[in-house]
Symmetry: D2
């Protein structure tokens, strides 16, 4: 079985909706087991045992929610220390309003999440424009569900956004299935001791 772990946080439920749809998409790929966890529930063992990690966040003032950031520090950063993220597959999604009509910072927010994955040595699945639903949820780095219009009128999570999310989940599950259990990335580095790294953090 390929294991896909989706970690998210939500305030009003929009990000949860998109997370569930991504989970359904991943689950639609044969041989895939899906775990869906809120940020505060996800443990190091959850991440250790996944083949793919998908992280989603509401936009909070142009970057990811601090609850997601806490998960990255408490879980991902610890597994980075011990090189336990290397070679896993990753992807991201965000949710936010449409005021400004140009993403309102979703690119930097997604890059903050992807940067945590890149630090871990993960392989990143982006979002092709061939994805159904791309027209309305297509940040190229990952799905962005724009839950409001330019006058902040509510759009919620529409069927077209869900279409993109479903396929993003399925894409990631398929790539993880191909790469699972293969140890493709060089591991020969004599890194500084973990004690040293911890000691001189800032």
């Amino acid at each position: 079985m390929t294991t896909v772990l989706i970690v998210y946080t939500t305030s009003l439920g929009n990000t949860r909706q998109l997370a569930k749809t991504i989970a359904d998409g991943a689950h639609s790929v044969a041989g895939t087991d899906v775990q869906l966890k809120e940020a505060h529930e996800a443990t190091k063992d959850d991440v250790r045992s996944c083949d793919a990690l998908i992280v989603g966040s509401p936009m909070r003032h142009r970057t990811a929610d601090s609850r997601i950031k806490k998960f990255i520090e408490d879980v991902c950063e610890q597994l980075w220390l011990t090189d336990e993220m290397v070679g896993k597959v990753g992807g991201v999604f965000t949710v936010g309003g449409g005021y400004g009509d140009c993403g309102a910072g979703c690119e930097l927010a997604q890059l903050g999440l992807l940067g945590a994955m890149a630090a871990g040595g993960m392989i990143l699945v982006t979002l092709p424009k061939t994805t159904p639903g791309f027209q309305v949820a297509g940040m190229h780095w990952g799905v962005h569900g724009r839950s409001g219009g330019t006058a902040m009128e509510p759009l919620g999570i529409t069927d077209e956004m869900k279409l993109a999310a479903h396929h993003h989940g399925a894409n990631i599950a398929r790539v993880a299935t191909e790469l699972r259990g293969k140890d493709l990335l060089a591991r020969g580095n004599v890194a500084p001791s973990q004690e040293l790294i911890k000691q001189f953090s800032s």
Copy 2:
């Protein structure tokens, strides 16, 4: 007189329209002289003699147009070497289609332009949400004119986008007027010789 220099490039004319509107906005501030130049026309002397530099570009595959990049290398990077950008005021704008409904990379494109200004030690004027027209042209880093819809139907440059652009130009002109001729940023660094910097470029 405060001098505001606007440098842009354009393919179909949309970015030129926005550049002209920004020029009008800057010109509306008393005591402001405005220079409007295409990227290939703008010289080191143009930039040397400006108090504020505004750079605008069409989106070309998620970053600024290579013609703008050439201007940055041939003009701005040279004046960075000789510390002639320090303390000038800067701002940016971009134009691009709406496919994906979330900016299509305009944030990273604007940050690439702002990074060239930050390297020069410039003071950056962002775009407040109090700006008229912000709803449809409000990337917080600068104006983004979204010239197409989610199905790529043409929107062109609308009056609301022009409103935001006009005020962005005026905002920058006002800040430049306040800061003009004041030497506010420390200049005590004994930098490496220019010959050295040039010699070991990559």
Copy 3:
């Protein structure tokens, strides 16, 4: 009096050292009052009453510390809603180790902080290469104190880093003094009601 507010968080004390040095630099500018607060202490009134805001963070897995992010959400995002950040002056700094020898993500970390300021409509002071100490603490967006070497050997906060930090603080205080009390940025936008914005967050 010009008021400069410095908000930071720290784990082992390195970021606090740099914050104090920035405070000293700001204080060296005549007529400047300086407030130094840890992230959890800083209130909306602290930010409301400042002319310049300087935010600093340790690097935590390639972006700012979640305690800083919490401050941005609880304080800055709320004052963004009510347009109370517009026209203030801003700057940033980070601290992190040297493993990798190329910043380890300090650029994206600083941009996340600056993005919160840009969203608020703030005017951003970058770090010119003319700044004393730039050679060893010169991220162009703001000061970066690299507290460890490539093998993670401890460097701590050196005198040269403090030199850059001192001048960054003074630079920002001088710009804030020039712009204080002037209402230079357009405020004519009829924004969506705050209730509407809150209602459709994600």
Copy 4:
């Protein structure tokens, strides 16, 4: 055979050195054919026929060289239009001096290159800290060869940098070999016609 295409540009030869080392690393993986091209030589057919694309650039004022940007516009953007990049594997590298001691913008430069790949729907290979040589050439997004020190003293491309580059090339070749010829990413989207996209560019 798996085909790995490396596209670069160079001024003084440092980026070429790193490109050649990456080529050697890719070639060390059995069954891999490697193409090494300068940006102006690389054609649409070169990119069409590769399984993995690796793009490298000298830093030019905080983003990639305009010659690389021209390649992205003339080749990659055209193949994005026709969805011919989807599912290919990608990676990046940069070269630049050490003035400032924190990357001097190599993160945003690498993200500009990766953004062009993400737009194309490519799968991105990052750089784990387990990579030999990571200590001195380890930007997590890709290899960064820091060719100068903090006082701009020449470092050139050292053996340790080459070690990281070699393994980056090999890593990417191995991932490309696993994913080659598999069509893992959804292709169901009815995109706007290419004529429409071209017509309303900016």
